[in-house]
Amino acid sequence: MKVSQETKGSASLFIVEGQVDMHTSPELRGHLREALTQQASPLVVDLTSVGFIDSSGLATLIEALQAVGKYGGKLRLCGLTPEVRKLFDLAQLSTIFDLRDNREDACGD
């Protein structure tokens, strides 16, 4: 898994590539934690190049969602492939997150 970070306007954008599971989710958590410490908002996670995410990865995103909520920020996810969207559906998390089709939409105000 690879995580890169960019700033787009006011958005703090994290581009994730690869598979997110028990092995890689701590690395993703570390990247997000830094932005959460700085109370970034909106915090955007681009999952376009993620082919698989398990409950460890979903837990990492839930943690981030709860953390931004504490300072009144926003977390948006974008670019979910059908396979990854299915995994969100199975965990009944699709309605919990703000899911956007693409990066431009997610990084907007």
Binding site: M22, S55, L90, L93
Partner: protein, 152 residues
């Protein structure tokens, strides 16, 4: 059965066996094997995704609960692909953990963790945990090619 169906020792073989250390770095390798097996059986993308999720959650539980996070213990997977189903037998050599004792939360209670066993049960058609001869757990998971009508 022809001679070609038999191994040199005369044993008949009906499955693929895979052994990995209990280190999560090997999870992609495990998913590659199971994903290709799902394709071999004829599963579509939806069923393939479900099976990959189940086996990942199952191995994660073994590492966390049966082996307590120790990364060098053996985990065996036996894959049986037939025209009717894909069967996965996951064998560990740790402590037998009754899945009832692994905390699982209601889905509507949105918080990190506690989803693994639930996801295994909802994504597979048959799930059975039993204590094996080594004192560990054998988890059998079956996904049918022809899905029951009420299954989504």
């Amino acid at each position: 059965m022809s001679d070609a169906d038999r191994s040199p020792s005369g044993e008949t073989l009906d499955h693929v066996a895979f052994r990995m250390p209990s280190h999560p770095r090997y999870l992609p390798l495990l998913r590659a094997l199971v994903g290709e097996s799902a394709t071999l059986v004829g599963f579509d993308s939806d069923l393939r995704t479900r099976v990959l999720l189940a086996v990942t959650e199952a191995v994660t539980n073994v590492i966390r609960h049966a082996y307590g996070g120790v990364l060098t213990k053996p985990i065996d997977l036996e894959v049986r692909a037939t025209d009717e189903s894909l069967r996965l037998d996951l064998i560990d050599y740790g402590l037998f953990i009754d899945p009832k004792h692994i905390a699982s939360r209601p889905l509507e209670d949105v918080r990190p963790g506690g989803l693994g066993v639930h996801l295994i049960k909802t994504t597979m058609d048959r799930v059975e945990y039993r204590e094996n001869a080594h004192g560990g757990t054998t988890l059998t998971m079956v996904k049918l090619v022809t899905q029951p009508k009420e299954s989504s």
